[in-house]
């Protein structure tokens, strides 16, 4: 007899017929009918109308029939909650059955029915089953707690099931232990701080014992749970590793990979000079290689993980290059992953072999694979310097095949090779130019155009080549358009005589005929640059470019660390943190490796570190790292001062003028007699600026300074608390937090640099972008010792105000670039404007009055400061600490009027009238200044000073 016939009933009136059959007296007929119902349910037909009839069949001795009815119940109970109640009695009765299989079946099924009323009835049977004499029932009940928790977490806690579940970890039966661990791990995930899985050496020991005895699946649950444990010291770490290593020989790949995860994680704790550390490294390689002889789907998972492992610990597989060679019949997803790993493992020792293989792959059929192989050759060239020459010649061979996509891919990578090894392989340019016609992909076209522009002086007909692209300018993709614009400007700077017309053409195409803002902006920048100062333009456009490195395609270290903690899971397959693809709270905790740094001390729990980061989000960072800002400084010089550039067309002048108008003039010039040049206005550098004041200062010294400098009446400068400027995630593990202080006339930027990466950081340097008040470092950033992982260092950087000026938005925004041995990072931060208030900012009364009158009324702005409970004297004292000086005080009808002045480092005076009414916590402040732009900032400063 076969069951397939149940799938074929599709006639009308089916439901009615089924109903009759379900209510039949004959057992056989009933069973047949239920089977038909289940078959319909499987193909997606709605058979919920039969609910009462099916539930009636539940009371049966036939276990097969019972299971079918249960299956139906699990599917439809939610849509018929009231009728589902009918089933409760049978469940409760079954939970008392003599046969353990039936008891377990009942409790298992009940947990799958997500109906509140049923859940209530579940509690008692579940409690009994958790203590059942039969292990089969107990292991089923353990999972049922997790099910119930998913439906009603509160109920589980109230009923005390969590404690019972914890007790099951000590159960005599290994499978019960494994299921209890799985259930607890899942529940713990939704309560990150509950400490539910109270892992201590005793429980760990129990788990390790159960590990040897339970099923393959149970071993996975236990290993995945163990991976969350943080051993107290390296000895404990080692002893766990020793007991986990035998799992590497298990036939089940998941057991192997989960064991690898535990070992990779705990290895961090072991001192590198330990013999055992080396032994462990050696033991890891063979099982990883063996995973590659599993089924292709598992190979894929393994390869994605090996990709991570190789980045973290390249030494493990460095001798195993050959096993990653692609086989002709590998599925494409395996091929692509193998290729990635081959490049990661490529070194001087094996590069010849790797290149021979890659060349072989480049002739295969699958387009994606071939492209990746060609790209891989380029990456090898960049990674292993000794092989660059051979790579280039291989790429040239491939270009000769004239296969379109191979040629294009090759040109893209050759561009990168040029960037890595300038002035070495330019002889091949001629060959590349031959293929100009056949390029139809944007990336390849852009790369080729870049090459032509960069080496315009060596290509005789560079102008013709570029001109040919210009014809269809508007049909090109943005990438190509931008590159073409830059290339032609480069060409013009190199051969100005012959290419004027060309550059004019491209500039007008970019600025007038395009509606792409990026393109227009870049066009304007070049245009103005060329028209203002061709020499500067040359310096900017033809500046030496930083070399590119192989690191660009590595996974960012903090992410890599997190992914290592997720070896074997989906996260490691996607190479994304779980939070990127899992919804809700589940599994979104960030995991991190704990290293051996603090082997003696108590080790940070894996979660707290990253929690701290997320608690203190970076302060406002508008337009991060706007490097182009540099180029926009034209506003400072009147456009007429330089001679009209040769290429200036009337239309262009107009466009440029538009952008140049307005701007900063009032801020910069207004107060200092309307002189358009700014030099004088920026005044002398602050009087006292000890040059030797730049070494890192310890906290104690700081305090002393504070007392000495700010003694007497003043209450000391308000120093904003440090905030995170540069989060570690954005800077390959470097975290910078900091604040600004002004002490005895010196502005200082105080920073805490925290190394959260795994490698030592050194060679620090700092630079500011032009900013509103010309803040610039007064000396180099003094970090004398390299910062080792997990170490943080304090640094104080004295600032001067004589740097180049450019208006920022907001005014007190500062864009900073920090360089270290790893990379350059950009961030922006805002400084309190009081840093810029000079100590001699107290105006003479008479001058104050005259100035107040002199400044037009439209420059006055009024603000409210709410909820400030200081009296006028206290406020005055407090403000004086920030160099806001009270000149006079007047009391009118119970209202104190304070007249105050302050002077900015660039010579701008700000006058203020502060009205304080006794009993009213709201202050009114009026600010008058020749440069009204600063008012907003000054007001904010008042507010922060008064409220802190």
């Amino acid at each position: 007899m076969t069951d397939s016939k149940y799938f074929t009933t599709t006639k009308k009136g089916e439901i009615f017929e089924l109903k009759a059959e379900l209510n039949s007296d004959k057992k056989e007929k009933k069973k047949e009918a239920v089977k038909k119902v289940i078959a319909s349910m499987t193909v997606g037909k709605d058979v919920s109308a039969l609910f009462p009839d099916v539930v009636n069949c539940m009371q049966t001795d036939n276990l097969e029939l019972k299971k079918l009815v249960y299956l139906y119940l699990m599917n439809y109970a939610k849509s018929q909650p009231d009728m589902a109640i009918m089933a409760v009695n049978t469940f409760v009765k079954d939970c008392e059955d003599l046969n353990p299989l039936i008891r377990a079946l009942a409790v298992r099924t009940m947990g799958c029915i997500r109906v509140d009323k049923i859940t209530e009835y579940l509690c008692e049977p579940l409690r009994k089953c958790l203590k059942d004499e039969d292990p089969y029932v107990r292991k089923t009940a353990a999972v049922c707690v997790a099910k119930l928790h998913d439906i009603n977490a509160q109920l589980v806690e109230d009923q005390g099931f969590l404690d019972t579940l914890k007790d099951l970890i000590s159960d005599s039966n290994p499978m019960v232990v494994a299921n209890a661990v799985a259930a607890l791990s899942e529940i713990a995930e939704s309560h990150p701080n509950s400490n539910l899985l109270d892992l201590n050496p005793q429980t760990i020991n129990k788990l390790l014992t159960a590990l040897n005895e339970c099923t393959e699946w149970g071993q996975i649950f236990i290993l995945d749970c163990l991976a969350n444990y943080s051993p107290r010291d390296d000895r404990e770490s080692q002893s766990i590793c020793e007991r986990v290593t035998p799992r590497l020989s298990h036939a089940n790949s998941a057991v192997v990979l989960s064991a690898v995860k535990v070992l990779m994680k705990f290895m961090e704790m072991l001192p590198k000079d330990l013999d055992y550390y080396g032994t462990l490294l050696k033991k890891l390689a063979p099982p990883l290689v063996t995973l590659l002889s599993a089924e292709p789907e598992l190979q894929y998972v393994a390869l994605r993980n090996i990709n991570l492992i190789v980045q973290r610990r390249p030494e493990i597989l460095k001798h195993e290059m050959k096993v990653f060679f692609v086989k002709y019949n590998d599925p494409i997803y395996v091929k692509l992953e193998k290729l990635d790993i081959m490049i990661r493992l490529a070194s001087q020792a094996n590069i010849a072999q790797v290149l021979a293989e890659l060349k072989e792959y480049a002739t295969e059929v699958d387009v994606d694979f071939v492209r990746k192989a060609v790209r891989a050759i380029g990456r090898c060239a960049i990674k292993v310097e000794q092989s660059a020459e051979r790579c280039v010649s291989t790429l040239l061979d491939l270009i000769q095949t004239k296969v379109n996509y191979v040629v294009q891919e090759a040109i893209v990578v050759i561009k990168d090779i040029f960037r890595k090894y300038p002035n070495k392989y330019e002889s091949v340019i001629a060959t590349l130019c031959e293929h100009l016609e056949s390029l139809d992909e944007p990336e390849a076209r852009a790369a080729m155009i870049w090459i032509v522009g960069e080496y315009a002086e060596r290509i005789d007909n560079a102008d013709e080549l570029l001109e040919s692209f210009l014809e269809g300018f508007h049909d090109e993709s943005t990438q190509v358009q931008l590159q073409l614009l830059t290339a032609i400007v480069k060409l013009f700077l190199k051969k100005p005589t012959e290419t004027q017309e060309l550059v004019q053409q491209v500039l007008s195409l970019a600025t007038q005929d395009s509606d792409n803002p990026d393109l227009r902006d870049r066009g304007y920048i070049y245009w103005r640059l060329l028209s203002t100062d061709p020499v500067a333009a040359k310096e900017v456009v033809l500046a030496e470019k930083p070399l590119i490195s192989e690191e660009t395609d590595l996974i960012e270290p903090t992410l890599l660390e997190e992914l290592i903690c997720h070896i074997g899971t989906l996260a490691s397959v996607y190479h994304k943190p779980p939070s990127a693809f899992v919804e809700g709270s589940r599994g979104v905790q960030h995991k991190r490796l704990t290293s051996s740094a603090g082997s003696g001390e108590s080790v940070e729990s894996p979660d707290t570190g990253s929690a701290a980061v997320s608690e203190a989000p970076p302060t406002v960072i508008p337009s991060q790292g706007d490097l182009l800002g540099d180029l926009l400084n034209l506003d400072l010089t009147p456009p007429t001062s330089t001679g009209p550039p040769p290429t200036t067309a009337p239309g262009m002048q107009l466009g440029a003028m538009d952008l140049l108008g307005g701007g900063l003039d009032s801020l910069l010039g207004g107060d200092i007699g309307g002189s358009p040049a700014m030099g004088t206005g920026f005044g002398a550098p602050p009087a006292a600026m000890p040059a030797s004041f730049n070494a890192p200062i310890s906290g104690g010294l700081d305090d002393l300074f504070d007392l000495g400098g700010g003694g007497g009446l003043t209450m000391g400068t308000y120093i904003p608390p440090k905030s995170v400027w540069l989060p570690a995630m954005k800077a390959k593990g470097l975290e910078i937090s900091g604040t600004f202080v002004r002490r005895s006339g010196v502005i200082q930027m105080e920073m805490t640099l925290n190394n959260k990466a795994m490698s030592v950081m050194s060679d620090f340097a700092i630079q500011f972008n032009r900013n509103s008040f010309g803040l610039a470092p007064a000396g180099p950033l003094q970090i004398l010792t390299p910062i080792s992982p997990n170490q943080s260092i304090e640094a104080a950087l004295p600032l001067s105000t004589v740097g180049p000026v450019m208006k920022m938005e907001p005014l007190n925004n500062l864009q900073v670039a920090v360089k270290n041995n790893i990379d350059v990072f950009y961030f922006s931060c805002q400084y309190p404007i009081s840093m810029l208030f000079l100590e001699d900012g107290k105006m003479e009364r008479q001058v104050f009055l005259a100035t107040w009158k002199d400044i037009p009324n439209e420059n006055e702005s009024q603000f409210q400061i709410k909820d400030c409970h200081l009296n006028s004297d206290a406020a005055s004292n407090k403000l004086q600490g920030s160099n806001i000086f009270t000149i006079a005080k007047r009391t009118v009808e119970g209202q104190d009027m304070l007249y105050q002045s302050m002077k900015l480092t660039n010579g701008i005076w700000v006058l203020a009238e502060l009205r304080v009414q006794a009993g009213n916590p709201n202050y009114t402040i009026s600010l008058k200044c020749r440069a009204p732009e600063v008012s907003q900032c000054v007001f904010q400063n008042y507010e922060t000073v008064l409220k802190n």
Binding site: T42, C112, E295
Partner: protein, 436 residues
């Protein structure tokens, strides 16, 4: 954990659908059909993320198996589980086909209920499952209490793969060492990569709960014994020992004992099972050498000559030898001359297939072919896929030898000597390719 498990036929019709978690809805079933089975382009990853649901899929003949989840599950475990499920189904009703799945859908639902609970895999050993999931559901009712508890303790117990009280009149076991030898050779005859992946497969018909110990010529063990034992003995056997790169074992093998003493001891499951898998890369005997010679004569003609040499004891015979020589897509005609066996050009496979039934060791044979090509304007050169080979030889190319398999059953009165043991070595080609 696994949120749902679906089985489809090749048209994308659902044959089995079992949902374990609330976050997987009915629409997931359709999403997979639309985005993977009916996708215009072949899906290029065995894991697909569709609308924040991840699908793990494997295909067996014309049937798709897919596991769906919305959590960060152990991906390796999910695939292992899918394979295991295929094993279980095969153990119950043979080949996995649409017909068989439909015919056994009630059974499959029953199995799915048992081996996956809330998405967590449970005991999935067919031997254990068969004791209580039967197609005659009534049977469970007539079991005695002892029988029931015996079932549950086996399903959950330490030795979940074997039940107690097995009796055979004749205690017998069959041991097959099955190896597949893999090779990638350059046209010049340089070995680019070669490895043997081997399996030790057993069929045991033993009474009671026998304790077994398996020994082979593992270099590490032999060297250890060589040091302890007499000198010349160690030297003699040392020559024949092999270096095993890595091995994995059936879950019955005590891994901690292997880790500490490198001895393989276990209580075997009853019937068929795979005891271990291993991999070796050193001193492999490559049974055949393929020497290709391809010459392009103008644009429309290709001359191919392939020589194969057998490289093992002359007294042994290789069987089922098959050489596949790929031909370009624009082949219009092929003339073949071969010294031995039969050769044919198969246009559908774009290859010349040369079959030789038997070949003794230390022999040589060759085939030459003239391939005529149609002129094309296709710029892309022919990719020249490698020449591949299939064969079967009666020895283990890794050099592995079974030294002993001892059986102890203290409770029953049969000894190691009473057990009839059969050992067989089979070497097969894995991916055995020579580039040309």
């Amino acid at each position: 954990m696994i949120g749902g498990l679906f089985i489809y036929n090749h048209k994308g019709e659902v044959l089995i659908s079992r949902v374990y978690r609330d976050d997987i809805g009915r629409n997931a079933v359709d999403a997979f059909r639309v985005s993977v089975i009916h996708a215009r382009h072949q899906v290029r990853s065995p894991v697909s993320n569709i609308a924040r649901t991840s699908f793990f899929h494997v295909k067996r003949s014309n049937v798709w198996l897919a596991a769906a989840t919305r959590q960060n599950v152990n991906a390796c475990m999910v695939f292992e589980f899918l394979y295991k499920m295929c094993d279980v189904m095969t153990a119950y009703f043979g080949k996995i086909s649409e017909e068989n799945v439909k015919n056994n859908f009630v059974l499959i639902y029953e199995l799915l209920d048992e081996i996956l609970d809330f998405g967590y895999p449970q005991n999935s050993e067919p031997g254990a499952l068969k004791t209580f999931i039967t197609q005659q559901g009534v049977k469970s009712q007539v079991q005695s209490k002892e029988e029931q508890s015996q079932i549950t303790s086996q399903v959950t117990g330490q030795i979940g793969w074997r039940r107690e009280g097995i009796k055979y009149r004749r205690n017998e076991l069959f041991l097959d060492v099955m190896e597949s030898v893999n090779l990638l050779m350059s046209p010049q005859g340089q070995v680019l990569s070669a490895h043997v992946s081997g399996r030790v497969v057993m069929k045991s018909y033993l009474s009671g709960m026998p304790e077994c110990k398996f020994g082979m010529n593992d270099k590490i063990v032999i060297d250890k014994q060589g040091k302890a034992g007499s000198n010349d003995d160690g030297a003699k056997s040392g020559k024949q020992s092999i270096a095993i790169d890595d091995c994995t074992f059936h879950q019955c093998v005590r891994l901690s004992k292997f880790d500490s003493e490198r001895s393989i001891s276990f209580i075997p499951p009853d019937g068929d099972y795979e005891l271990m898998r291993y991999r070796t890369t050193k001193d492999i005997i490559l049974p055949f050498r393929v020497i290709p010679l391809v010459r392009e004569v103008g644009r429309t003609k290709l001359e191919v000559k392939v020589v194969i040499k057998s490289n093992f004891k002359a007294s042994l015979l290789a069987q089922k030898i098959e050489v596949m020589i790929p031909t370009p897509l624009n082949t219009s005609g092929v003339q073949l001359i071969c010294m031995k066996g039969k050769a044919k050009y198969k246009a559908s496979e774009n290859a010349i297939v040369w079959k030789v039934k038997r070949m003794a060791g230390m022999k040589e044979s060759q085939i030459s072919a003239e391939i005529e090509l149609l002129p094309t304007n296709d710029k892309k050169k022919w990719a020249r896929p490698p020449i591949s080979m299939n064969f079967e030889v009666p020895f283990a190319p890794s050099g592995l030898k079974v030294r002993y398999l001892k059986v102890f059953e203290p409770k029953l009165n049969y000894s190691d000597h009473d057990v009839i043991k059969w050992v067989r070595y089979i070497g097969k080609s894995g991916i055995y390719e020579t580039r040309c």
